[in-house]
Structures are given as C-alpha cells and as structure tokens.
Amino acid sequence: MKRKRSITNRSSRVRRQRDPIPWKYCVLSLICGLLLVAGFFAAAQQHFSSLGVAMDNAKLRVKIKQLRDQKRKLLISKERAASPAKIATLARKIGFTDTPRTVVTGAPEVIEAASTRDAKPMPVYAAANQNDKSSNRKEVHVKDKKRNPGGKNVKAGKKPTPNGSQVAALSGSDLINNVRE
C-alpha cells in the first residue's frame, strides 16, 4: 500500500525552506533608489546654486566696473579742483595777490623747512593699489650731490626731489589755508 503512493503525493509532502517576503532586498533597493534620487537632488541643487553665484558674480563685476569708472571721474574732478591755475584764480577772486614767494619774507621758515623733511604723500597710483603690498615704488634716496665723480655710463643717482605737499606747502597751500581762515 505504501508502495502505491503517487509521486505527486510524495513530493507534496516535502517541506521546502523558503523566505516568506524578501524584505532584505526590498529595503536595499529602496535605499539605493533613495540614494540615487538624493544624489540627483544634490547635484541639481549644486548646479542651480552655482548658476546663482555666477549671476551674482556677473552683477558684482558690472558694479565694480561702474565704481572704477566713477572713481576715475572723481579723481579727475579732484585734480581739476586742485590744479594750480584753478587755485590761483580762486585766490585772486577773493583778493589774494600774485606776489611771488621769496625767501626774504619767509627766510627762517625756508631754512627750517630745508632742515626738516615731510613724509612723502602717497601718489594716486599707489593709493589706488593700497592693498597691493608688493607695490615697489622706488623710494627717493637722499644722496650726496657729488656722487657722479665721472667716468662713462655712470648711472645717475636720485636726488631729493620735490613732492606735492612740500611744494604746495610753500605755494598753493598757503593760499588755501588763508582762504579757509
């Protein structure tokens, strides 16, 4: 009797070990998918933020250009206002005379001035590049006048040279100060 058992019946009796639901794979796939989507979002965000920065940058570039132009215009206005001819004209208008400054009237001051040396004012082109520490504008050295003893192709040395404030201090600025007073 036992021998007559059908094959099907016999196989149905076999107990196979199977996983109920493949949760493991589902979660793994989900995580991978989420990571992928998150990656896309991150990339998109980076892309659009870089575009935003680029556009802001472009606007700032335009602004810098405008400000530089404005600075040049202001510099020219300043130079125009401080031109010796303009100062002389204005001084004459308010009653100052054009008497040439001589050492007679101010001999002690001149002698004193000759012994003291004011700090050199920063030139415009240097002031425009204040941040540039590598600006290597040559300093004026006070050297002995007779430093060119002779000989061919001797490099000419630098000599104490007039600077704006010094000259102005003895000419134009006197007028300006008087005008202000």
């Binding site: 130079e79 031109s83 192709n153 000599k159 704006g164």
Partner: protein, 662 residues
C-alpha cells in the same frame, strides 16, 4: 492536509511576486546601465564634439578696448586720464518720432533741435543705419536721457526710444587744462597719441583690444566672463612737477607779455639726475580742445625748434679753452676797442672793454674775447667740444620730433665760421641742448642725459624704470672755473637781473638776431633773447633756460627779457625744493659801482616801464608800481642806447648769413 496545501500555495505566490520584483529591478538595472553606457559614450568618446556644441550655444565673445593709460606727474597727480562715457546714437530708419526726440535731446545737450532733426532726416533719406545724436554725455545728461527718452511713454507722436541706443566710448581728460600741454600732447578721437608724451609713449599708453568670452544661460543672463586676449595699457609717470610747471609757465607768460614777444619757452632741469622738472611753451593750448586747434600749435618748441643761441654759446668756447689748458679764468685777454677782423670781416663788441680777464670778458659778453679764444683753439677742437657738450645731436629726452640742431662738420666751414660759431652764430640749437650744456657744468662736468619719463606702471606696479646715463665731458676743475665765470655774469655782467634774493646764481645771457625767411637773411629788428643759468651757483639744484622769441619794445637783451623770468622761477622753485638759501638777501645787495652804471640803459625809467606787466590781472597791477608813459620810439631810433642796454651787436659776414639761412 488542507492547511499544508494553503501554505504551499502561499509560498508559490510569494515566489512569483519575488520573481516579478526581481524582473522589475533587473529592468531598471538594465535601463540605468544602458543610460550609463550611453552617458559614458557621450562624455568620454564624444566629449570634444558635444563640448564645442555646448560652448557655441552658451558662450559668446565681445571685443572692446581697454581704457588708455594715464599720465601722472612725479608726485602722482593726474595729467591725463581716460574715462568711460556714453554717447547717444540712432538708426534713422527706425526713429518714428523725430521731432519729439530732437526736442528732448536738444533740451538735454544744448544742441540745436533743428540740427538734430535734420541729421536724422538726412540719415533716413540716405538709408543710413547710424547717426550720432550726442556724444560724450555727462552722468547727469545720461540720467536725463534715460528719464526723458527711454522711460517717457507719454508722447502721443510715438515712442521716443525707438531706434535710439547707447554707445560706450572713452574720453581723454586733461584736468589741468593748458598746464604742460606741449609736453603731454593729446590723443585723437581714435585714442591714438598725436603729440607730446601721448605720441612718444603710445606703445605703453595705447588702449589694447580686449576680447571677453561670456557664458550665458538660456535667458541670456551672464554666468561667467573670461578675458581671452588682454594686455592692459600702462601708465606713464613723468619727471615733471605740476607745481614747478605752474611756476615756470606763470613766469614765462609774464616775460612774453611784458616784452610783447611773439613766443617763449622755458625749461627747468635737475642737473644731477637729468630729470626735467618743467618744460613750458607760450602760446599754449588746451589738449581737451584739440579739435579746434590750428595745426602746429602743439609743436613743443623747447625741443623741436632751433635757433641761434648767441652769446650763450660762449660757454662752449671758454669751456673748451679751459679744458685744453689754453686759458685760466684770471688770465687777461686784449679785447682792444671791441673790434676784430676775421677773414676780411669785422666783428664788434657792444662796447670796448680793453684788456680784461677772461672772467670779465665772459661777464661783459665780449665777442672779441670769445673769437680770439676760439681761434686759439682751432676748429677741430672747438667742434669736438661742441659735440661733446651735446650740440648737433638729439638728447634722447623721450619727446617726439626732437630737433638735432645744426652743427656742421669742420670740413664744411668757411673762413669766418669758427669766429661766428664761437659767439653763437652759424649754429642752431634747441633750448634743451643749451640746458643740457649748462647742466653739465652745474654737475661738475658730468653730463646726465635728460629724461622726462620717470617710470612706467601697470596696475599700480612698477613695470619699467628709466635711469639716465651719464658721462664726463670736462674735468671738474674746468667746470668749477666756468661756474666762477658764469657767477660773475650775474654779479657784475650782463645778467644782473638774474641775481637772486637769498641764493647765489650763475648763467649767461644771449641775444641773437633772427633769421627771417621773408627777407632771406637775418632781420636786425628781430631777436631771440635768452638766459640759461643755474642756482645755487656752487651746488646747483636746478638749471633754468628761458628763451623769448622776438621781444618788442625797449627791452630786447637776454639780460633784460629772460633774466627776470629766471629770477622769478628760481626764487619760487628753490624754496619749494627745500634748498637752503646760500646768498645775499635783496636788502643787502651791494650797490653797483659808479663805473658800471654806464652799461645800464641810459633811460632806466623806460626799461622799468617796459618791464611792468600789461595790466593782465589785478595782482600784477598791485605788485608793480604804476608805470610811466612809454617812449619806445626814442629808444628804437638810437642804436647806441641799445648797445648801452646790453644788446650784443655784431656784424655778420656772408658765410654766417648763409649758415643762418640753413
């Protein structure tokens, strides 16, 4: 049993679901894989192709010009600078409201409305696509145009902004007006230098072509900007000082106007470094108004024009003789009755000086003394020293069209040429050459090449530095001897008016007849009066040359015309340079001994009158006493009086006249 069957069925369905799920996953993996493969193919294999395509769509390039470089003085003051400005242009074919547009632009710019409308209408008829409406507008005008033209929608006759557009330009600005105009020069509307530093330093200053590549998004917004071709222009720093230039110009104008002269030029130079501190010409011009200038007005006469130096050239004659050991300053020379005949022609002194020392011969500007000295030297030696001092060749100062002067080789000289040249005729020089010769003596015999460009800067950093080369021309001892002689010229010679208040000075006057093209020979009514000197005399800080062209009236001699200008410049410049006074103050000046008084003009009142400025401004009037009436005719009619006033007269031979015609 049934329970077991159900379980088995459930297992089967789960298995089926799993298989299906895995199929979906496999599909997605395959799909992503396919996409990835495609992406790799596009980005790796076809990278360059798609990149170029993308760039062509998202980027574009614009070509502009960078701003022209600026010109600064030695203290960093701006002498020339370019700024961006906006101009208004129109496409005549597109403009529909011509009357309204013309009216608005006219109100803003001040141009005539009828002119603007006719421009547009003519453009329409001619089928032009572009006409200028207004150029180089100010910021205020730009704002007004924006408001009244581009934002004005009220005009019933049509849109004012239609066909109108902005054009960006750059404008060259010279904030100091006429100051140093001949040195700076100007650039034309295409930003190309036409004269002066603007021309000679064009390679540094020129506005470079600038190509910018911009990346944009699909809406045209600029994302990035990269300069592809960019060589920024450079800034030029000059050796000029704005203040000293102003002082020099003021003195020159006064000298020219006082003497009713045709023109004048002045140079101030530092003898130790060769730096030109000021260079002035009169009449002058405003570089901003270059469109209105007559051709040649911008000619820098101080370096381009040549003239017969007259007695100033005696510096070379005596310098060569001293260097060769032929004379000593204290040695005596017989000048006799003030006449000497060379090659059959007689040269005269203004007055007989008799037997005098070389110092006195120089101080009295004796032609006879100079001619005798030159004859003793010989023509080859004289010529070689003239060349050594820098005559007959360019100084290389760095300004355009510099003149060489005329100094013929000795082979081409004729009988009287050596005599003529020794007193400054038959030779032509530039003002700069004379300054250089005197600077050589001031610098103890070492000649330093003059320079006007101090350095070149790029973006505020030093790009190029210029240093002059120097060479010895005469021994220091010779230079000291010459200084001694030149000092005497100021103290007791023809240049007493160059005596400074508080400082010592030295120099030489020159008064030469001018060659007149119209009559083809020298014109004895036309003079070039000059004074070249330096101060302080023993340790010079500046060398100053003043040349006045065709002074008219009673005062014609260099000592009368140019020496006062030297005095004015030196007395203002030396304190500015903080040079301590080393001389006598005016109140302590020694009075002239009576014997010398005969050399002064007989009618000193007349001289003083002519000296007074012609009431140009209140300050000048206040400064000088009220002049008495002039009597110039009387002076002109008596050549003896002219002689007494210090005018150096001489008779020219044919050879000299021919030389002057060159």
């Amino acid at each position: 049993m049934a329970r077991k069957r159900r379980t088995s069925q459930g297992n089967n369905s789960m298995q089926t679901a799993f298989i299906r799920f895995m199929l979906v996953v496999a599909f997605f993996i395959f799909w992503i894989g396919a996409v990835s493969v495609r992406l790799v193919h596009l980005q790796v294999n076809e990278h360059s192709k798609w990149k170029s395509k993308s760039e062509a769509q998202s980027t574009y390039s614009i070509v502009t010009k960078s701003l022209r470089g600026s010109v600064y003085d030695r203290n960093g003051s701006v002498l020339a600078m370019s700024v961006r400005v906006k101009s208004l242009a129109a496409d005549p074919g597109l403009v529909e409201n011509v009357a309204g547009l013309s009216s608005e632009v006219s109100k803003i710019t001040g141009k005539k409305a009828s002119r603007i409308s006719s421009q547009i209408n003519e453009g329409k008829l001619a089928g032009r696509k572009f006409v200028w409406l207004a150029r180089e507008l100010t910021d205020e005008q730009v704002e007004k145009v924006k408001k009244r033209v581009f934002e004005n929608k009220d005009d019933s006759n049509g849109d004012l902004a239609l066909g109108v557009r902005w054009i960006g330009e750059q404008k060259r600005d010279y904030p100091n007006g006429t100051l140093a105009a001949h040195v700076i020069g100007f650039s034309n509307s295409d930003d190309v230098g036409q004269a002066g530093i603007e021309k000679s330093q064009e390679s540094f200053l020129k506005a470079e072509r600038l190509r910018m590549v911009r990346e944009r998004d699909r809406e045209g917004r600029v994302l990035s900007e990269t300069a592809v071709e960019r060589t920024p222009s450079k800034d030029v720093v000059l050796t000029l000082s704005k203040e000293i230039q102003h002082i020099t110009e003021r003195a020159l104008v006064r000298a020219v106007k006082t003497t009713n002269a045709k023109a004048g030029k002045a140079i101030v130079m530092d003898p130790a470094t060769g730096e030109i501190l000021a260079m002035a010409n009169y009449p002058t011009f405003d570089p901003s108004e270059f469109r209105k200038l007559k051709p040649g007005v911008w000619r820098n006469s101080a370096v381009q024009d040549q003239y017969a130096p007259g007695s100033v050239f005696k510096l070379v004659t005596y310098g060569a003789a001293l260097e060769e050991g032929k004379i000593k300053p204290e040695d005596e020379i017989e000048c006799g009755e003030g006449q000497i005949t060379v090659g059959g022609y007689t040269f005269n002194d203004s007055h007989a000086v008799g037997r005098v020392s070389y110092i006195e011969a120089m101080a009295e500007s004796s032609n006879v003394g100079a001619i005798k000295t030159a004859m003793d030297l010989g023509k080859d030696t004289f010529y070689s020293y003239a060349r050594e001092f820098g005559f007959g060749k360019r100084t290389g100062v760095g300004l355009p069209s510099e003149g060489t002067g005329i100094l013929r080789a000795p082979e081409r000289w004729r009988g009287t040429d050596l005599a003529s040249m020794s007193i400054g005729y038959g030779i032509d020089v530039t003002a700069l050459q004379t300054v250089l010769a005197f600077a050589t003596i001031a610098n103890d015999g070492v000649q330093v090449n003059p320079q006007i460009v101090k350095e070149v800067r790029q973006d505020g950093k030093l790009a190029e530095d210029f240093e002059s080369e120097s060479r010895r021309v005469v021994k220091a001892e010779t230079a000291r001897s010459l200084k001694k002689m030149l000092k005497q010229v100021v103290l007791d010679g023809t240049a007493k008016r160059a005596r400074l208040n508080g400082y010592t000075s030295a120099g030489k006057t020159g008064t030469a007849w001018k060659y007149d093209k119209e009559i083809g020979t020298i014109n004895r009514k036309k003079y070039v009066s000059s004074f070249v000197g330096f101060a302080p005399a023993d340790d010079p800080a500046v060398v100053i040359a003043i040349v006045v062209d065709e002074p008219k009236g009673a005062m014609r001699a260099g000592g009368q015309v140019a020496a006062p200008a030297f005095k004015e410049i030196a007395e203002n410049v030396l304190p500015a340079l903080k040079v301590a006074p080393d001389g006598v103050f005016e109140k302590d000046f020694p009075k002239d001994p009576p014997k010398k008084e005969k050399k002064e003009p007989k009618d000193s009142t007349l001289t003083e009158k002519a000296k007074a400025p012609k009431k140009k401004n209140k300050a000048d009037v206040k400064k000088t006493k009220k002049p008495e009436k002039k009597k110039p005719k009387k002076v002109r009619k008596t050549p003896k009086e002219l002689n007494a006033m210090g005018v150096e007269r001489m008779r020219l031979n044919k050879t000299t006249k021919q030389a002057l015609r060159i």
